[in-house]
Symmetry: C2
Subunit: 371 residues, 2 copies
């Protein structure tokens, strides 16, 4: 893409594609639309539409191809079969063929749903990701994981389907609520914890700049996160091994999200807190030094994520964590750290998990939300 500061390439068996990162990318979308696309469908939500839909639509129309726009309601609660049906109906009603290209303009919810719609419409069509939250920019828009939620679990229905391009315009972060910046930074610091101790240290040094949306700091954080994620995904597209390390903090985090009811905590907030829990479990099971646990806890706090999980009781916690997709033959698999920058996937004795829960959850008992 002309004039874009950085391009990171993702190479997987399912496709090789660029992640363009820079200010003003949204104005140059026509450069990532393939010549043989017969039509473009932008899907976004009701919060983003008034902010960016017109600019993106204009940028897409510069291709000379027909552009249609579907605006969905906002929120994690909409990431379900019903909204997916709505997308499918729209595509079919507009007579879109296999050479049509979808454009997902939004955060993780829009990206996951539109990506999944692209994965299964006529057995798979192409799509472009334009992530508008920090979390989506550094995580969910890269790597081809698409899904919807099911009443019985988050992301239980989905597919691996790589986008043909990811376009990250850092300008869109200025309209994001502070809470969403913190949630996105949780995934940023995660990459440091699991695979790059230097980057972790950089995050420690730049935590305040990142929270204050310093442009250069955010650009580097996004770039490095995309590079690290692209590296993992290129080695293991379908999560048969290595890729699982990206779920550090997620087994605890998903339990928090499910237990409180999706949408109460932001995904990144739950992951942030879950990483403190996973760090403590790493100390118990894999002898991660106490000092590393302290640094992780400190950094989660510094980026503004919660450091105390809800207390569902040990049994409810275990049941919630059983719902995780990493479970195999009934055994919960945790991503833990052997050192800062080094992750491993392993099981853990229930007694040690209980000890961690006792140390990391609120005194007050919280009832699990009905699904």
């Amino acid at each position: 893409m002309d004039g874009v500061a950085t391009t990171v390439t993702v190479s997987t068996p399912g496709g090789t594609y660029p992640i363009h990162i820079g200010k003003g990318c949204l104005q140059q979308l026509s450069q990532v639309v393939p010549d043989d696309a017969t039509a473009l469908v932008m899907v976004t939500n009701a919060v983003l539409a008034p902010l960016y839909a017109e600019a993106v639509q204009k940028s897409l129309e510069a291709t000379g191809k027909p552009v249609s726009v579907l605006v969905l309601p906002d929120g994690e609660a909409t990431k379900n079969q019903q909204t997916l049906d709505e997308i499918m109906d729209f595509l079919l009603a507009h007579g879109l063929d296999r050479k049509a290209v979808l454009v997902a303009l939004g955060g993780g919810v829009i990206g996951d749903m539109v990506g999944f719609a692209a994965a299964i419409y006529m057995r798979g069509i192409r799509f472009i990701q334009i992530p508008t939250t920090l979390l989506a920019q550094v995580d969910s828009s890269v790597g081809g994981k698409t899904a919807i939620n099911h009443p019985r679990g988050k992301n239980m229905i989905g597919a691996f389907h790589q986008p043909i391009a990811v376009v990250i315009d850092s300008d869109v972060l200025h309209t994001l609520p502070a809470r969403e910046i913190s949630a996105g930074l949780a995934e940023v610091i995660k990459y440091g914890m699991i695979m790059d101790a230097d980057f972790f240290a950089w995050c420690e040094a730049n935590a305040q700049a990142l929270r204050q949306r310093d442009e250069a700091a955010l650009h580097y954080a996004i770039q490095r996160s995309c590079e690290l994620k692209a590296d993992v995904v290129s080695q293991d597209e379908k999560e048969s091994g290595l890729r699982a390390i990206l779920n550090f903090g997620h087994t605890f985090g998903h339990a928090i999200e499910a237990g409180l009811g999706y949408g109460q905590w932001l995904h990144g907030e739950a992951v942030g807190c879950g990483m403190i829990q996973a760090a403590q479990l790493s100390q118990q099971v894999l002898q991660l030094p106490a000092q590393s646990v302290a640094r992780i806890t400190q950094l989660v706090r510094a980026i503004g994520c919660p450091d105390q999980a809800p207390n569902f009781g040990v049994d409810a916690w275990l049941t919630l964590m059983q719902g995780d997709k990493k479970v195999q033959g009934g055994e919960i698999r945790y991503v833990l750290l052997t050192a800062l920058g080094k992750a491993a996937v392993t099981s853990a004795p229930t007694a040690q998990v209980a000890k961690v829960l006792a140390a990391t959850t609120s005194q007050e008992v919280v009832e699990v939300a009905s699904p």
Copy 2:
């Protein structure tokens, strides 16, 4: 598989797997179940369950792994989102993890739906196809096309997801209604028409033996069909080119199915009739010799498929054919023949399509069924 007469191998980027063809295969299913499978789920329909479910279940239980069984209602009308939801609920309620393996015991409807469920459950798990109709044995169970229907079109929602094994027990064909044998033979003779003139001639010589379920004739027809399909699918898993030739007769056939309402004609019957129509269009557009058209028409009749399509009127026909997934930029793409055994994909002038419709449809006008 021990003692199995024939094994055909399918090699695609999405996976390499065996098609085992022989009498009594159903008794040896444990041989195709991977060691690391955590659980097995057999999905079948209410018509097949009393005939084969017990034997298949026993054969699966020989692995020592937990086996659960889901029995769905029978019929093309069930190949929809609602039934897919039912499968998903069953899998989640039974706590199945990513290492569980689905077993599809049934015809094309069960195979397509269970395959699609496997494609999207937790972003993809493994499945085994046990096709019980001739049509599924020679076509839909091989090649990884999975889908459900949408009110706006057949197979509009789906994925490419290869099974880990296909097990074809010719014994199951004895309980099949005669109409289903004819419908299956339509896809058998199709392979001859599009890519193997010798096999077409063999089918002409053996049409009666095939209809009468002569064991040796059926075995060879299934084997040769699987070989030819495996050859195409290995070259073009995701239908970006060559694979489209497998849709010979299907643009017309799908229009018949959609126009009459799914389930009125069997898929193979519609394809049989559609191949006569496509042959006539081939004569108009690509100068296929009249003698070849006559041989195709004669063989479709000989296997017991209808030779006259319903008359929806030209406009309704074109609208129905516009719904086909091969449409690109609004133009209908037809698979036609340049010679017996040689197919090409092309557009066709509306006037010539109208001429073919006039010659191949009933005098009486038939109203298009509401979706």
